[in-house]
Symmetry: C2
Subunit: 178 residues, 2 copies
């Protein structure tokens, strides 16, 4: 998928709506992916993201060791692949091969971009103070990519127990908020 | 709006989709509201929520002092009131009166529930370690309320600069994830 660089100052608009994301990591040439819904913006620019990654996940160990990852945002067309990623462990399976996803080299981190996702955020760990108690990492976005053709991405939003809300219409309101 | 008690174990399903919320507080009989999109689940049960509240907001001071708030989830029918709340400051305005919202007494905290919102989460501050650097509060949900008649809430999801995505259809997928 042909992507272009995306301004860091606009990254918040990608994550505030609350999409399910795919977090990709790599260590010693081995790549992994996990699905994730527990994340929030924490600062506009440079963009900071807070996210919870359970210590039971293989990605937790890789992120803690390498301090790098990519947050990839899928749309509903990838729902089956998102599920496939969420329903197995990278300890046993090459998730890129298992889910049929394509890794692409990132610009600033060793972790790969997931080509099929419409947006990719290259991140490094910025703060680990809440990792021990809450598995909560603060990430800084170093570089962002977007598919310029996808103006109205139909992102997935987890309601729990296999129910996902799909992004609906976008409305414009006279807000003074950024 | 007639609400019923909602199990704490299911609260994550209300917040994971990423809705805009209204945070209500109270201090010495004075109530306030602010709009908020920067929040994430951090634990299932008891439910923990992490949220960023800028130090420029009047609610920041009240929450820091009282350590109590309510997270209220509005639907698209309340879009104009959500905007009205977001576009003024509680330092100058009684936001309940200005936006035409109805405060209702909570069960566990001094902050009021917003009656018109389909769900309300009574919270107390559980961790302030990241407040100084990131304005990031960890909240524990003590009690949750829901409108049992609203099975498919059309929540608002902020895309930035006055653009809001409205929750679309819900699909069911064979997920093993909670």
């Amino acid at each position: 998928m042909a992507k272009k660089s995306f301004p860091l100052s606009k990254v918040y608009g990608l994550l505030e709506p609350g999409p399910v994301v795919l977090l990709s990591t790599a260590r010693k040439g081995q790549m992994n992916i996990m699905t994730l819904s527990w994340l929030t913006m924490m600062e506009f620019e440079p963009p900071l993201i807070g996210c919870v990654i359970s210590g039971r996940n293989y990605s937790f160990d890789i992120l803690k060791a390498t301090r790098e990852c990519v947050i990839n945002i899928p749309t509903v067309e990838l729902a089956e692949k998102v599920l496939a990623v969420g329903n197995c462990s990278g300890r046993k399976v090459d998730k890129f091969a298992a889910a049929g996803l394509t890794p692409v080299a990132a610009a600033c981190v060793q972790a790969p971009l997931i080509d099929e996702c419409y947006a990719n955020l290259e991140c490094r760990v910025a703060d680990t103070r809440l990792v021990n108690k809450y598995n909560f990492f603060v990430l800084e976005v170093l570089k962002a990519w977007i598919d310029p053709k996808n103006k109205d991405p139909r992102t997935l939003h987890h309601r729990g127990n296999g129910a996902f809300m799909v992004a609906g219409e976008t409305i414009k309101l006279p807000s003074k908020m950024k």
